[in-house]
Subunit: 333 residues, 2 copies
């Protein structure tokens, strides 16, 4: 049975870049041949069940906007998606997740040992493929971004049930774990298109801000979203002690006594029960402030697009920010 | 309390290369500064508790033998050791190991989630450091070797309790999981010393054969060695369904009926009881044949050293093979 995708309608103008995305999809599948025969079936499975190819799509849109999209952008898309797949495999081990997008996760199917190794194999393979760029700077940025993703996850894991997690550290975490790969998708696409350093830097900022806003949306929807709408288990962040922006806002907005009550409530693993939380404090404003932070980031991301020529692809990059604005608004109380 | 090292006396002539190894050790510690502050303590702990720096030592000896050892060899040593540390961290998760060299493993100390991420972070960091070589071929070989290590582990995990594991696949597994990193330690050291392609290829073969022989020794000692002699839990391979060369030899040497008995015995998790195994078949010859395979590999490794000039370092590379010959002989029945 093919995986059922319950995700919201994609904001990506697929028609505009469908040829490129088809090539990337074909190239992702073709990577299987580069693994030993024993690894290929595992690889094919995770390719089928995970990943929305957002990072490759962003890279292609930037390259198209700069009117210089070529095969190295396809390679970039493949590598970014493989790194993303590797992190998803390991995330599912860490979260003990049994399903992702309604299909069994790698750890549910083959156990943690195989999933640890499969993620490692994908990581090492991605980095090996990155050396095909013949540009060590690109290779290095991909390595650093991968390290940032892992580091963000480490600090997040370390901060579980740390009710004093600061806003500053929350942003450090999400910039590393989500922003880093978005940022190199758009930055390196510009570099490969021969863009100026200024344009590449603007594209880095666009990707970073978009990725960070996307993570804020993901964190908000985990708190208030409806499970059937997204196809993954929701309300799980608080249960796992992951403090996200709405809760950080809430903790900052209430007095000491309420903060104590909320802390006690969260530590008792009652975090998933929003009704109980609502009895202690009105979380709506905290939630709305979080979605507003997302809107602000998206607005700043749009500013970075000003250096691009006006064309359908640069319009699409703006359209993505508007789409995410809409999703954030849907989360607001 | 510092880790207690029960390992056999090292075969490495440390005096010959102690200055270089000190630099590498200092440089490994200095890597901590390149991680985010939250990661540094974890990193320092795994540096303290794991790794015998065999791969860096081999690289330095090859460079010295070629009379051209410089700071890039130190970088190579650091990178190889970091990759090795990353694989040890993940191996301990997979094996559910609580101690390594008498100190708690990362997973015993911080749990599997943190250990998965810490290994990933070390992997990604190693690959990032590899881009500092300004030579994409070196970078690519390091990536491929890392992928080979993971692939070898995947095939080994997949082959657990596969009583039909072939000799051919056993060698594929150990060449990838252990040989690959040894082989690039010696090959890339030669490349960085400006050696000819022939010498680099000979050094690759030396490292591959030495690493493979080392793994055969490790597998033999797991079967028959004494726990107090090595400082890690022994007799665990069979318990985990890992068929190694002595058992593959044994299965091939007996008739169908005995093969059935041995299989039944192993599948009943009685593998750790050598006495019970001895009642079914005489495993001494199978063990001796395995150690002989190790001796043959070491003899072939020595042949590869003929292209090196005669000097204390090339003598030391030969001495290492003789030392391993001695360890293998100690295992023989």
């Amino acid at each position: 049975m093919p995986p059922v995708n319950h995700a919201p309608q994609s904001p990506f103008p697929f028609e505009l870049i469908s040829d490129h995305l088809s090539v990337i999809e074909r190239d992702i599948r073709a990577q299987a041949e580069l693994f030993e025969p024993e690894v290929r079936d595992y690889f094919a499975y995770v390719c089928d069940t995970s990943g929305k190819r957002i990072r490759p799509a962003l890279a292609i849109l930037v390259a198209n906007a700069l009117d210089n999209c070529h095969h190295e952008h396809h390679r970039l898309g493949v590598i970014l998606e493989l790194i993303h797949l590797a992190t998803l495999i390991h995330d599912d081990i860490i979260d003990g997740a049994d399903t992702r997008r309604d299909t069994p996760t790698a750890n549910a199917k083959w156990g943690n040992a195989m999933s640890v190794l499969l993620g490692d194999c994908l990581f090492a393979h991605s980095m090996t493929e990155a050396t095909l760029f013949d540009d060590l700077v690109i290779c290095r940025k991909i390595g650093k971004a991968s390290r940032d993703v892992c580091t963000g996850e480490i600090i997040q894991t370390q901060s579980r049930f740390d009710l004093n997690l600061t806003r500053e550290n929350y942003f450090r975490i999400i910039e590393m774990k989500t922003g880093a790969l978005f940022a190199i998708a758009t930055e390196l696409a510009a570099v490969l298109s021969g863009a100026s350093a200024e344009t590449a830097a603007a594209m880095y900022d666009y990707g970073m801000k978009l990725g960070t806003a996307y993570q804020i949306y993901d964190d908000c929807v985990d708190l208030v979203g409806k499970e059937e709408a997204i196809g993954k288990t929701l309300g799980t962040d608080l249960e796992r002690g992951k403090l996200t922006l709405p809760i950080i806002n809430l903790m900052e907005s209430v007095d000491e006594a309420k903060r104590e009550s909320i802390s006690a409530h969260l530590l008792n693993h009652g975090g998933t029960n929003l009704d109980a939380l609502a009895e202690i404090a009105d979380y709506k404003e905290a939630l709305n402030n979080a979605t507003q932070t997302g809107h602000d980031l998206l607005s700043a991301a749009r500013k970075q697009l000003e250096c691009l020529p006006a064309n359908p692809s640069s319009a699409a990059l703006e359209q993505i920010t508007r789409y995410l604005d809409g999703l954030l608004s849907d989360c607001a109380g």
